[in-house]
Every structure is written in structure tokens, then in C-alpha cells.
């Protein structure tokens, strides 16, 4: 027997009822925050649940208690900690009281000096000018909180040029920060579109392009995706945990990371006269740096020796030279030879 579908009018009524429930929840949670914040003394459970203005009293006591607990959890997810307060010596049967935990909730801007605040506002705003920041949204939020907390005028923040990328970045950040799986339509370099679901483990940027790295359900491997190639996102759902040994630095890739199934240890040298910061900018903090002869040695695993030789040549001016393995040096010489032949 086929099920009789709900008539359209009934579906509208259901949607309207759900919308009203959501509005009621918003009002109840905000009002709970307001009365706890406004009250000079902790409020008892009864005072809260029996307050008709809040809306718990319309339900059964047990349901109301559960709803109250969920609302506290919601506030805590927003950074507002509602703590249980019990007088010393109070019996276990005595009713709980509740108050906002000021120390755990509120920032303490007086700990930041005026010089700190000026430096930070400038530094964070400068950094927001970097193209392709995957954490742009939370950083703007941090700048706003910092300046607001110090009573400073918020700086004019540079806007994103592409509004659609704004929505994608926001969805990626939301999924990452809440540890919810993200489903998206992705277009690769060949223009092929696929639907992927990824547990986002890390976010990073290289040369002005932002990427996410995470466990791709389709391949069951940790993959890297360019965020500007995400065409469409769905609402994140499904929780996950990031493995304790995950390190996003391993994903700050080089051109020599992409070919070949296996990697080969390689080593390069830099002269001692090159500032350490310059070497670290080139090496991305990957591999190991150690004193060597009259300079610095960089050891790193590479998948493509020829691409590694090309990378080394691009940094010749700073004195970067291949050390090992011999095949790397051969690739390096070969590239020089081909370039000379092309200009002979």
C-alpha cells in the first residue's frame, strides 16, 4: 500500500512550527545569558526554570532540566561558561545555583599594555594583507575582539575580492573548527569535478594560495586540496578527531613532493653568510638544518630528484648547492647543461 503523501499545506505548517521552535530557542538562550549576566547573585535552578519569560516552564520539569543543560552547552560553545555555584557546607539536596564564570568567560584586556595592543593591531592587520589566508575569517574576528576589548577603533580591514570565496572559506573554517566532515565539489587542475567528503586536519597557505589537508573518504588517504578550486560546499556534518601525530608543516609542499611512490633522502648546503630566517623561508621549516663545513646543511626527503635539482637552481643566488645523492647532482648539472644549450 502506498503511503499517502502529506499535503503541501501540512508541510508548510510543519516547517513553520520548526521555525518557531528555532526562534524560541534563540530567544531563550539569549535571555538566559541576559538574566545571568544582569543578576548580581547566582540564580537557582527554580528561579531560571520557573521564569515564564525564559520559556522553560511550558515543558515538563525533566524536559526543562535537559533543555537548560543543552542551552548551557550552547553558551559554552560560544565561549560563555555558566558554572554551578554551591555554598560551602551546603547539603547535596540543596538546589544548585548558576552564574557566569567571569574568569573563564571574559578576556582581561588590562593585561595587555597599550604598546602591546598597538603592535598587535598593526601586526595582525598587516598579516591580513597576505593573499590566500585560509584562516582569514577567524583572524578578522580576533582583530575585532582585540581592538574592541581595548576600546580602540577597529582598523579598516581589506575585503576579499571574491565574495563566493568568502562563503567557501567560511564553510571550510566552520567545518575545521567544529571538527565536522566537509563535503564539497572540487575541480582539479584538469577541470574535472568530483564530490569529496573530507575530515579537515589542517589549513595552510603556500605562495598566496590556501589549502586544506585532510582524510579524504573517497581515497581513504590524507590529501591536499586547493581551497580556491572548491566550487560548492554542503553543510558540514559527522564528527572526527585529528590524529595526534598530524603536523601541517609536513604539507607545506615543494615542487619535488609530487612524483614517485617513494621518497629519497637528499641534502643541500647554504653558505654560513645567509641569514637563518632566509634559509627557513626557503625550507618551509621542513627537514632538518645542521651546521656543515662552513655553512648549513639541509636534509629532506624528496620524491622527484629532478624537480629538487630545479628548486636548488632557483636559489643559486643565495648559494644553495646540492650535496647528496649523486643522482641529484647529476640532475642539477643536466638542467644547467640544457639551459646553456637553449641559449648557445
Amino acid at each position: 500500500m502506498t503511503k499517502t503523501p502529506t499535503p503541501p499545506a501540512g508541510r508548510e505548517v510543519q516547517q513553520s512550527a520548526r521555525e518557531n521552535d528555532r526562534q524560541d530557542a534563540v530567544h531563550r538562550i539569549l535571555n538566559l545569558l541576559f538574566i545571568l549576566n544582569a543578576s548580581r547573585i547566582p540564580l537557582t535552578t527554580s528561579q531560571i526554570l520557573d521564569d515564564e519569560e525564559l520559556g522553560y516552564s511550558a515543558t515538563k520539569r525533566e524536559s526543562a532540566m535537559k533543555q537548560f543543560k543543552r542551552d548551557r552547552q550552547k553558551l559554552e560553545s560560544l565561549g560563555i561558561v555558566v558554572a554551578e555555584v554551591k555554598e560551602r557546607g551546603a547539603s547535596e539536596r540543596e538546589e544548585s545555583s548558576w552564574a557566569i564564570d567571569q574568569e573563564r568567560t571574559h578576556a582581561v584586556p588590562r593585561l595587555i599594555t597599550a604598546d602591546d595592543a598597538d603592535l598587535l593591531a598593526k601586526a595582525l592587520t598587516d598579516h591580513l594583507l597576505s593573499p590566500g589566508l585560509p584562516y582569514r575569517r577567524p583572524l578578522e574576528h580576533i582583530v575585532a575582539k582585540l581592538t574592541s576589548a581595548r576600546g580602540l577603533t577597529p582598523p579598516d580591514l581589506p575585503g576579499l575580492l571574491d565574495a563566493s570565496q568568502d562563503n567557501v572559506l567560511e564553510a571550510v573554517w566552520t567545518a575545521f573548527s567544529l571538527r565536522l566532515k566537509l563535503t564539497f565539489e572540487y575541480e582539479n587542475a584538469r577541470g574535472e569535478a568530483t564530490k569529496r567528503t573530507v575530515c579537515v586536519y589542517g589549513l595552510f597557505s603556500v605562495k598566496g594560495v590556501s589549502y586544506l589537508a585532510g582524510l579524504d573518504e573517497k581515497s581513504s588517504q590524507v590529501r591536499t586540496f586547493r581551497i580556491d578550486r572548491i566550487q560548492r560546499v554542503w553543510k558540514p556534518k559527522g564528527t572526527y578527531a585529528i590524529p595526534a601525530d598530524f603536523d601541517v608543516t609536513d604539507f607545506l609542499f615543494f615542487t619535488f613532493d609530487f612524483e614517485g611512490a617513494s621518497s629519497t633522502p637528499a641534502a643541500f648546503s647554504f653558505p654560513a653568510s645567509v641569514p637563518r630566517a632566509e634559509i627557513e623561508a626557503v625550507t618551509h621549516g621542513r627537514g632538518t638544518l645542521a651546521p656543515h663545513a662552513d655553512g648549513v646543511r639541509w636534509d629532506i626527503d624528496v620524491r622527484d630528484l629532478d624537480a629538487a635539482a630545479g628548486f636548488c637552481l632557483e636559489h643559486s643566488q643565495m648559494g644553495m648547492t646540492p650535496l647528496e645523492p649523486p643522482l641529484l647532482i647529476d640532475c642539477w648539472r643536466n638542467r644547467i647543461s640544457k639551459a646553456v644549450q637553449a641559449h648557445a
Binding site: L119, T249, A281, A339, H343
Partner: protein, 314 residues
């Protein structure tokens, strides 16, 4: 720009809380309407709905109400019963802040004060978490010192390695500002000895020392990084194996491309180069794929450079 949908659920709650914080932290408990919408990343309609929502909040027992209203393009919060000051950063926001402070090499004492003030207490005292946010540092080790010198108008001695130097050497510099592009961050400064404006890559600065002198007034040029890097530069014609390779190169000195690809798929571009060895490194790195077409003496100097380079390894 498409109209933003109405706020509801978590987004509405978050916006209302942030609005209360902005108003509470203002000395006058007011905020300009349009600027606040931008600050909270909502539309003006969404901000209005947040104000309306706040107006509906009340405490029956005490009779307290949230008194917030919009008048003359200003949002105002009356009284102190609804004031709600800035809350600590979330765990993930704390990670972003920690990452950026590390990237900029902000010193430990400033970081500790900021973290104690702003981060959730669980984050401050917690065991280290996996590194999940990353980017390549382009700011070197002295961003903070330089920024302080800029703010306080202090003349500096920079120990700096330019691309033509084999080792860093000291220069007396009046700092003006820090700018950045995709690949590097630069100090715009005035070289006092050369009496000229210069760009200094932050990651090539080996040391910074403050002098007792203040900066002087200079005829600064408001040029972009690209303009500064290519001012007085050598002009060359360079060909790339494909349009895609040209675009991926992302060189700041590419002025224009020479129309469509030729029959071999190669694309030519006019390139301005402040430093020819920089170009040579990229040509050699491409293994002959990128070719200097003209001028001919530049091609000859590439070959000489290549021979010198090859002799590094016997």
C-alpha cells in the same frame, strides 16, 4: 552582490552577543551602524534583526530589559544592565593567534600577556596540540623591532644581505612601512648613506639595532612593491613553454605578454628585471624550458653565470 539571508539560530545568537560586546566596550556604549555591520560581517538588515532580537530580552523578576536602539546611523546601548564585555577567544581562534604571533616572531613576553588576556584558560595551560595551521614565514626574525621603530620614528642599523651581496652588511636606514606581496614581506626604508629609497626583504635582515637618532623627512615615493622592484630595471623578452607556465610563474616583473602562443605552444613576455641573477636562476631551474630571447648580451651573461655555477661542484 546577492542579498544575505536572514540570520537565525547560532548565527543570530553569535551576532547578538558580539553586538553587545562592541557596544559595552565602547566608552560611550555606541557604535556607528554601517561600520558595525562590516565589523560583525553581517548585512545592515541582519544587524537590524539582531538589534530587534536584543530588544525583546527581559528579566521578569527584576524588571530589567535590554535597551538598545538605532538612531541617526548609530546603535546605542542604554544603562549597564545589559553590558557584556569581550569574551575569550575560542580554542581554534587561539590556535590562529598563536600561529600568527609565531610567524611574526613576536617576543615571548608580549605573547604571554596576550595569551593570558585573550585565550580560553583551557588553552593557556593545556598540553600542546597537533600543529594544524601553517604557512611559510616571510617576516624574518625582526618584524616586531622594525614595527616599533616605525611607530617611534627611530633610525635603524640593519645588517642586511641584498641579492648581490655574498654576506650581510650594515646599512643605516630610516624605516617607513612594511608591505608584502605573495612571496615576501619588505621594509620600505631610506638608505641614509645612499640617500635613496630602498626595499629590504624582512627574511634577509640578519640583525636590527636602534640608533639614538630619529628618522628624517624624506621625499618618499608611494610605489607598489612591483614598481619599486622594477624601477630602473633591465628589460628582456622571455619565452615560456606554455601560457600556463607563464601564469604559474607569477613573476612581479612581467609587464605584458606577446599575444597568443606560437606554433610550438610557446608564449613570449616582456619582463623587467632588477636583478639579472634572479632571472638566471629561474631560467637554469627550468632546465632550458624558459628561454631568454633578448637582449643577446643577457643571453651571453646567462651562459657565463651557468659555467661559474657548474664549477661550484668539481
Amino acid at each position: 552582490m546577492p542579498r544575505k539571508p536572514a540570520l537565525h539560530g547560532d548565527a543570530l545568537i553569535g551576532t547578538c552577543i558580539e553586538l553587545l560586546q562592541v557596544l559595552s566596550d565602547s566608552p560611550t556604549q555606541t557604535a556607528p551602524f554601517a561600520q558595525t555591520a562590516t565589523l560583525l560581517q553581517v548585512s545592515e538588515d541582519q544587524l537590524t534583526s539582531a538589534v530587534d532580537t536584543l530588544c525583546g530580552l527581559a528579566h521578569r523578576q527584576s524588571g530589567a530589559r535590554v535597551a538598545v536602539f538605532i538612531e541617526d546611523d548609530t546603535i546605542s546601548l542604554l544603562g549597564d544592565v545589559a553590558t557584556f564585555h569581550a569574551i575569550r577567544l575560542s580554542l581554534q581562534e587561539g590556535m590562529v593567534l598563536a600561529h600568527v604571533l609565531n610567524l611574526l616572531n613576536i617576543d615571548a613576553s608580549v605573547r604571554e600577556r596576550v595569551e593570558r588576556a585573550m585565550l580560553s584558560l583551557e588553552t593557556v595551560d593545556a598540553t600542546p596540540q597537533p600543529d594544524t595551521i601553517g604557512s611559510v614565514s616571510i617576516y624574518g626574525r625582526f618584524y616586531q623591532q622594525i614595527e616599533i621603530a616605525i611607530q617611534d620614528c627611530v633610525r635603524l642599523i640593519l645588517t642586511y644581505r641584498s641579492s648581490n651581496d655574498t654576506a650581510p652588511r650594515p646599512r643605516t636606514v630610516d624605516p617607513l612601512a612594511i608591505k608584502q606581496d605573495r612571496d615576501a614581506a619588505y621594509l620600505i626604508g631610506w638608505d641614509v648613506e645612499k640617500d635613496a629609497q630602498r626595499l629590504y626583504r624582512l627574511d634577509r635582515i640578519d640583525n636590527v639595532a636602534y640608533t639614538d637618532d630619529s628618522v628624517e623627512i624624506h621625499p618618499w615615493e608611494n610605489a607598489s612593491i612591483q614598481q619599486s622592484l622594477t624601477a630602473g630595471a633591465l628589460k628582456a623578452t622571455v619565452s615560456f613553454p606554455s601560457k600556463e607556465t607563464l601564469e604559474q610563474a607569477g613573476w612581479a616583473g612581467i609587464a605584458d605578454t606577446d599575444g597568443d602562443a606560437d606554433q610550438n605552444g610557446r608564449v613570449r613576455a616582456t619582463v623587467y628585471i632588477a636583478d639579472e641573477e634572479w632571472l638566471f636562476d629561474r631560467v637554469l631551474g627550468s632546465g632550458g624550458q624558459i628561454i631568454i630571447e633578448s637582449p643577446s648580451d643577457l643571453r651571453q651573461r646567462l651562459v657565463e653565470y651557468a659555467h661559474r655555477l657548474a664549477s661550484r661542484i668539481s
